[in-house]
């Protein structure tokens, strides 16, 4: 069997399910949900120590989706892992749902931290990593930051903090999809080189193709082996990746569409999934 085929298939399954969530609603943060899917597949497809039947297991690895608006991608991942029935996915954002637009640890089985106010997940992830270390657990905390989110000063407070306290049980990702709500990240708020920045803050830094599961998986494993400093994996991604409609729009941070407009994108994603299964 081709290396990491299962993860590749898992990623395309997540994409199809996430697109169906958005399609049912008719709008959403499609772009930034699509761009993190390969990383979610790597983490929940073997790299993270989890038990979907016991979401509160203290010894589990934790995932903080600090760019909380990408929740629908995480929800698809969790449903496919069996944290809750897949049917729930179609209740996204409906009154009384367990799947709100932004992640809520109290509502969704498997969501480890409440996020939605950008920058805050960076600090809570540091707290989880530090708390687990104080409790004597060998759990890891994974943190997903958006590139636009890195405009927030709190991200850099946390970056300084994680390095100072040598949180080597923390692996962060920056989803470098180069877009934020108002346009390209370079145009809205130029942040310079993300690799240089994190290096300057004392982190172990890798940069990989965020849509290549082999590369992401290898980087996650290299980060685990790194001792004495936190790790960050800069994910070179395309906003809206794998969703034809979103990829063709700029910016595609939050888009609205009719069922007819999104249908070809779902069809395309299903074809890619079928190809991945056959590969």
């Amino acid at each position: 069997m081709e290396k990491n085929k299962e993860i590749r298939v898992f990623a395309e399954e997540i994409r199809v399910e996430a697109l169906k969530e958005f399609a049912h609603l008719g709008f959403g943060h499609v772009g930034g949900a699509m761009s993190i899917i390969e990383t979610l597949a790597v983490l929940y497809g073997g790299e993270m120590r989890i038990d979907p039947k016991n979401p509160q297991w203290a010894e589990r690895d934790k995932f903080v989706l600090s760019k909380g608006h990408a929740g629908p991608a995480l929800y698809a991942t969790l449903a496919l892992k069996g944290y809750f029935p897949k049917e729930e996915l179609l209740t996204l954002n409906q009154g009384g749902t367990i799947l709100p637009s932004h992640c809520d640890r109290l509502k969704t089985p498997g969501v480890d931290m409440t996020t939605g106010s950008l920058g805050q997940g960076a600090s809570t992830a540091c707290g989880l990593a530090l708390g687990d270390r104080m409790m004597g657990r060998d759990s890891r905390t994974y943190l997903m930051l958006g590139d636009g989110e890195c405009n927030e000063g709190q991200v850099w407070e946390a970056a300084m903090f994680a390095a100072h306290y040598k949180l080597d049980n923390l692996t962060a990702f920056v989803d470098l999809n180069k877009q934020q709500l108002d346009g390209s990240t370079d145009d809205v708020m130029y942040m310079g080189d993300m690799v240089d920045k994190f290096k300057a803050f004392g982190w172990h830094v890798q940069k990989v193709d965020g849509h290549n599961v082999d590369a992401v998986k290898e980087a996650v494993e290299a980060a685990k082996a790194e001792k004495g400093k936190p790790s960050v994996i800069i994910l070179d991604t395309v906003k809206g990746h794998g969703c034809l409609l979103a990829e063709g729009m700029f910016p595609c941070h939050h888009i609205a569409f009719t069922a007819e407009q999104i249908a070809p994108s779902i069809e395309h994603a299903e074809q890619v999934l079928a190809q991945a299964r056959q590969a």
Partner: protein, 323 residues
């Protein structure tokens, strides 16, 4: 159940509140590995140096990063730790309101935030460091508990309660020596006001440094034939609706006394409760929508009318307004 005894003489205590903070936490930490302390480059000011020395693995100086500190504490509590976080009042509240709201309260995590040097006791640090709005800033955070301990006895009781309480708590703390009001060993109930003296003509609801002023005012009023009850409303949220209703019924009018803006403060909380449950005249002693400034504590108390004399005058105004 509360069981407290009020002193007969009110004098400055011997022990600083911050010493009580550190000693009590060290005692709790000895038997409870979840207890941890975070500070934002104010370890020297908050008096927790001995804790940092005794428990270096559970003591975190966050540097000058209040917002990050609140988030870290929230995350640590999600991992099972019980964090006590300190900064100066303004920075522990208004600077990180969104982190307190989302990372701690909305996420229903378990964080205790200590904000020191309330109102005029910030003295020489002046308007930038003088929170007349710390409680007010947090008043609209759902489910948060807001407390202002009166003296070292009440504060020690509170720190012990917070070991096993769950939720987000903000404690407005006078770091130095308070006026002692309660006998050692007194116990209280969060959310329940403590009755310091009974009365029938007017009820004074007081908090923090204003408790001693309220007691002085009540003594002076008694000499003039006016019977004033004094309630120590050390929990501002949830306010003790029942005690307020009871004393509105008994006394027919209220005075509130706080070292804080009456807008969004104790005055507002008491007035809202009474308006809902038992409307009576309310006179508010406190800071009336003003900023802080530099000066000695004595100068500032006079400048903002945070005095027994003002409480006494307010009591007479309230009584005169009774129908």
């Amino acid at each position: 159940m509360s069981s407290y005894t009020v002193k007969s003489v009110f004098e400055k205590e011997q022990v600083e509140m911050r010493k009580v903070y550190c000693n009590t936490l060290m005692e709790l930490a000895e038997h409870d590995p979840r207890i941890c302390v975070l500070d934002a480059d104010l370890v020297g000011s908050s008096g927790v140096k001995p804790f940092f020395k005794a428990y270096p693995d559970r003591a975190i100086d966050c540097g000058i990063q209040e917002s990050n500190m609140i988030g870290v504490a929230a995350g640590m509590s999600a991992a099972g730790m019980v964090p006590f976080v300190h900064s100066f009042g303004p920075f522990a509240t208004r600077r990180c309101l969104d982190q307190i709201f989302i990372s701690a309260a909305y996420a229903k995590l378990n964080v205790r935030i200590i904000g020191s040097d309330p109102g005029v006791v910030a003295a020489y640090n002046g308007g930038t460091h003088m929170p007349f709005e710390d409680m007010g800033a947090l008043m609209a955070v759902p489910e948060i508990t807001l407390l202002e301990p009166t003296d070292s006895v009440q504060f020690e009781w509170l720190v012990r309660q917070l070991q096993n309480a769950y939720g987000v708590y903000y404690i407005r703390l006078y770091r130095k020596t308070a006026v002692g009001v309660f006998e050692p060993g007194s116990t209280f109930e969060m959310g329940k006001a403590a009755l310091l003296r009974d009365g029938t003509d007017v009820c004074i609801a007081a908090s923090g440094i204003m408790v001693a002023e309220a007691l002085k005012a009540a003594q002076s009023l008694e000499a003039q034939g006016i019977s004033a009850a004094v309630l120590n409303t050390f929990t501002w949220k949830p306010i003790d609706d029942e005690a307020l209703r009871l004393y509105a019924d008994k006394c027919g009018c209220f005075v509130t006394a706080e070292n804080h803006n009456t807008v969004g403060g104790l005055g507002s909380a008491v007035a809202a409760s009474l308006a809902k449950n038992h409307p009576v005249p309310v006179e508010m002693v406190g800071v009336h929508d003003q900023f802080g400034q530099v000066g000695t504590e004595a100068f500032l108390r006079e400048a903002y009318n945070l005095t027994a004399a003002e409480i006494e005058a307010a009591a007479k105004r309230a009584i005169a307004r009774k129908a």
